[in-house]
Symmetry: C2
């Protein structure tokens, strides 16, 4: 593998070099193994993989036989492993996760159903992983392929097991893991006093009761980790023929590529091997097709509104869809609604239902006035990149937290999709479209987000290549993992200083005083003799 | 002020834009106020200021009338304020600080003298600051100049007071502050279990007794801060006409430009508004003059050794210099020694004494075999950039820590300049020159250090401009400063959960049980009646 070192001394020569390296393929690229996760996660990881291919690297990607978003491509070699389910079954499992939102069940029943479905989904992913690891022949081939590094979506730790088995340095690509294990394993402090935990919908300014709840939620993380990952420890130990815990599996990242940007996330302590590439998915902008260009142009002065609840929701109940349609019909803008549910009667003329939208390209159009979104992180970054104020209808997972972040920055209005009325939605839309503060705030966020010395996609590619060039990035890993938790928090030192040292001194003093007294007594006796 | 936003979508167009912006001056630049510190600190800050000038910004720099390294330049407007000392007096104060190293005094006497001199130097800097703030007319002119930002070396917090007075967003440029106040004010966690404190010479792998000492040293920081800065609180309160503490003064940085790189520093938690620009001083490499080129060429196959104890040491005792000369005379390389002390008799032919050396350019020469340095951070980065193994002779301040870092990476040998013999020095030189491990390790560090997506100098300039463009970077500041220390550590929440909540519940239970008993008693009475 022949890499060129970017020791550019200095601009403009350095940038000419960089430009050269970026624009043209390497004469000889490296070998990269990629283990992604299906679903929306893949959408932004794909951009990085494609770019790595453009830069001349040979890429082998391992995926299950059955996928939804991941497709074979001429840009990388795809190796598949058999799984004991069909595409229909996989789609059903994913639909189940999102359908639960609209189910008319008592709250506790809903939570229980959700728990059961997450737990089922987790078991389902585990079963796919087991099938991967049973593919002896494929794993043997991977072992012989002499990869320079492995590029993993670590949400379910199957790639991590393979990385360990093949002794490859790894780059993790993620937004975050539900039980925040990434902070635990990278020894990154997360003070619960101002770093809100996932699923709380808190900001970084919490009231006392919120801080109490945040601390309690923090202590529930191990439970959540256990629901998601408890089986992987045994699987890894069996496969690697040595004792491995789930924490061990996650702890080997050379570099964490986090889809984070601090115009969206709240500032917090971070570690040197965390690289922030929030907005990586905004990169691939294209011109609109004639169909969409015509639709946008015909909207006139009023412009358009983009409505999408993401790829995970395939349909919403008819009653709710009708309410939404009433609200959308009441505004002056043309609404492009990504909708795949039942046919809606008496639809207002300004509403155009589409099975798919070129979301980022539409958001980039100057006629776009607002974005109604389920507050998935990809969509939100597209909203920020293109400075479009948002109406946020979070459905599940981290979407409530995402919505709160945008709302707390004054760049959008959050509604509860279950409780909201038509009037709530049309009021929210009118507010973000007509009140200048929303546009002003999202423009400020957008300007800050876009003002970067290097584009997030190039930064992501750069760090994958860095790990390939140097076989890891051990100089960025703190020494903390060598310490036990009580050592990390200096509890042994504090105990020593507060208890053991004074006690020791007390005992020594007592011994001395005892000896002195003995001596005096003996002297007294000698004198008497 | 007309800035162009770097919202480049995407390479290669983005890099073309970047190249354009980097290579040519802006049509209209911004206005920047610079308040530097004299001494070696200025050497790397100057590179950033020069580059900002190249990029078309109008720069006003405020310095005392009497300086050592800072000189007027056509690249920036210099405004001076009178100080009650001469250049000779300033040089004497600085010499005093370094001369103490070689003084033949008992240890405690030495520590006391050093404390007195640091304290004197601090008072001396304070007096200069007071004279600056008395310059009403100049401060009025600065106030009217409508600067976009202020660029400060924050070591002594005079620039910080001016920044507050002029309400300017500020960028701090530093390696570190002796009492580590930068971590306290930016709410950056620094676990003493693996983050070694300054002046301890520990690595990030500490034994138990080292961790005990590290924790104790940590608690001495406020005392050190008080020695250095206690007077600035009152001065600032008086000048700003409101209560201001020293912590307040340091806490307003929009961005911290830290001369850090994790091939040299130990990895540790950091904050989003900390930007790492270690090696910024390696940028300005030039060709050697004919005199030096001839000297290097004539060294033949054996090559050269560079010897410099930095700009703070103007002379070393003759006896020590003779010992060093004996060692240098015993090796096969030509030694270029930056030496300004007394004349040395019978000097070996391979030793060339020079009053000044183009250190970075010499270190970059392929014939350079080793670098004997006092382990100042600038010199060490030049050694790393150019992959030259080092013999480290630390003298004072952070130099012992710096030396330990290079030694712990296997890229150099540390000697105690006071105790070492001629043989120790020649052995150390022969080791780093002839044992391949030293060259291998420094080459590895160098490769990692140079492998960056953007050069540290460009990164520094970028972030100064970022703060100028956006009038700060508040989105990178954590919410933690809004919390009291006990809130930050969730102690109030823990107290509530462990003590107050159970006590409250206990009282409620007791009340209920009391009421029940009362009711039962009353019922009993009623029954009896």
């Amino acid at each position: 593998m022949a890499f060129m070192l970017l020791s550019f001394y200095r601009a403009p020569l350095g940038f000419l070099l960089f430009l050269f390296l970026t624009s043209f393929r390497f004469a000889m690229g490296g070998n990269l193994l990629v283990i992604p996760q299906d679903g929306s996660h893949w959408l932004s990881m794909q951009a990085v993989v494609e770019e790595l291919h453009q830069r001349g690297h040979k890429i082998v990607m391992v995926i299950p036989e059955v996928t939804i978003h991941i497709r074979p491509s001429q840009h990388y070699t795809v190796r598949t492993y058999p799984v004991p389910y069909s595409k229909e079954y996989l789609e059903l499992r994913i639909k189940e996760l999102s359908f639960n939102i609209f189910a008319e069940e008592p709250f506790l029943q809903k939570v229980f159903t959700m728990y059961k479905r997450i737990s089922n989904f987790s078991r389902f992913m585990f079963s796919a992983c087991k099938h991967f690891l049973l593919e002896n022949e494929m794993i043997q081939t991977l072992n012989e392929s002499k990869f320079d590094a492995i590029f993993i979506d670590p949400t379910f730790p199957c790639g991590e097991i393979v990385a360990e088995y093949l002794s490859l340095p790894s780059v993790y690509f993620l937004r975050g893991i539900p039980c925040a294990i990434e902070y635990e394993v990278s020894q990154c402090p997360s003070p619960p006093s101002y770093v809100p935990r996932i699923f709380t919908s808190y900001t970084d300014h919490m009231t006392f009761p919120q801080r109490v709840k945040n601390l309690l939620v923090n202590h529930l993380n191990p439970l959540l980790c256990s629901i998601l990952y408890s089986q992987y420890g045994n699987l890894a130990s069996e496969f690697l023929q040595r004792d491995v815990t789930v924490l061990d599996l996650f702890s080997h990242a050379s570099v964490w590529l986090l889809r984070y940007d601090f115009v969206f996330e709240y500032p917090r302590p971070v570690m040197p091997n965390m690289i922030f590439i929030g907005g990586v998915n905004c990169a691939q902008r294209k011109n609109l097709s004639q169909e969409f260009e015509n639709l946008v142009t015909s909207s006139g002065e009023n412009g358009i509104v983009i409505f999408s609840l993401g790829s995970m929701i395939s349909g919403i109940p008819l009653k709710k869809a009708m309410e939404i349609a009433t609200a959308l019909g009441s505004i002056q803008q043309t609404v492009l609604w990504r909708y795949t549910g039942q046919t809606l009667p008496n639809l207002a003329k300004n509403i155009k239902l589409m099975k798919w939208l070129p979301q980022n390209d539409l958001l980039a159009h100057p006629k776009t006035r607002a974005f109604v979104t389920h507050a998935g992180s990809h969509g939100i970054y597209e909203g920020i990149c293109n400075a479009v104020p948002m109406v946020l209808l979070p459905l599940f997972g981290d979407q409530m937290d995402n919505a709160k972040r945008i709302e707390s920055r004054g760049a959008g209005v959050t509604l509860n999709i279950l409780d909201m009325t038509s009037l709530d939605l049309s009021n929210a839309l009118n507010a973000v479209i007509n009140e200048p503060k929303y546009k002003k705030n999202i423009k400020r966020l957008s300007a800050l987000h876009l003002d970067k010395p290097i584009h997030p996609l190039d930064l992501a590619v750069y760090w994958v290549e860095f790990v390939m060039r140097h076989k890891g990035a051990s100089h960025l890993r703190p020494a903390a993992p060598n310490l036990d938790w009580f050592q990390y928090h200096s509890l042994d030192v504090v105990a020593f200083l507060l208890v053991i040292l004074p006690s020791g001194l007390f005992v020594i003093l007592k011994c001395c005083s005892f000896c002195c007294r003995k001596c005096c007594t003996l002297k007294g006796r000698f004198k008497k003799m």
